[in-house]
Point group: C2
Chain length 164, copies 2
């Protein structure tokens, strides 16, 4: 691949990162949330109470990051951290009522952001986008030992209808 195309791609990814993050930040700000915290809340809502190590794995970021995020979300009253009875090292984290209420708002914002993101002309390949992006991510992910790189493309993304 020549440098022109390579740069176009890398730059496109970089810019999308910046803009999508910035837009998310501006949407989340009214709720008193910062970017990244919403992922934690949503994951917690999706899977239920879990340990920080599991959160770290699910969110794809390192343990120190979840330490800081959980601390701030706890200070905000949106989550609660209680020591795990079976393992004195671990602390299980769960949504508070305030957090659950917040999640509902976040979900709406999240839908709005996604619609806004894929809005416009290309309604065709839009259904494949998560799969495509996931493939790129796996390609670039060094930690994951390349498990199921190929089948990932058509795994859980194929929705019955392309209309969404």
């Amino acid at each position: 691949m020549d440098f022109e195309h390579a740069n176009a791609l890398n730059q496109a990814i970089r810019l999308l990162s910046l803009r999508h993050r910035a837009r998310a930040a501006s949407l989340l700000a009214p709720l008193g949330l910062h970017t990244g915290q919403e992922a934690l809340l949503l994951e917690l809502d999706r899977t239920g109470p879990m340990i920080q190590a599991q959160l770290s794995e699910a969110l794809g970021c390192e343990p120190p990051s979840v330490t800081l995020m959980t601390r701030k979300l706890e200070a905000g009253g949106h989550i609660r951290r209680t020591p795990a009875p079976s393992d004195k090292r671990a602390s299980i984290v769960e949504l508070t009522d305030s957090g659950k209420a917040l999640v509902d708002q976040v979900k709406q914002l999240w839908c709005a952001l996604a619609e806004e993101t894929v809005g416009g002309p290309p309604a065709e390949t839009v259904a494949d986008l998560p799969g495509i992006l996931k493939t790129l991510t796996d390609n670039v992910d060094t930690k994951r030992p390349t498990t199921q790189a190929a089948p990932a493309r058509s795994s859980a993304v194929r929705s019955p209808t392309k209309t969404f």
Copy 2:
């Protein structure tokens, strides 16, 4: 759009951001560069000497960011900042010889990263990827007053051949 799809998309973008950035960081580290600095050097190589405000615009980040980046790159000896003769506020920044040499290495890494990113199964839509990502970026970009949102998709991305 239901929340499932929305979350799949947003999460995919978020993860791609993290991983692509992380991979870039690990590739750039041996050269003594941090993520984001390579974009500045490449832009400088592409367009020639320019003012920080122009850099800020080209890189899509805010002036304070370029202030810090330029300062560090200058400390590293890769760029040079000289006061602009026509405008006493502005300082024009340009590549040093060391910087030019570095750019060549960065270009190679950049190609490797792009190939690695799009490597694997989906060789079909790969040519459209920059355009697709740009469309998403524009959709989400708040600063740009929605100029040419629709035509952007098929503007400068259509390469004569899809093979790359």
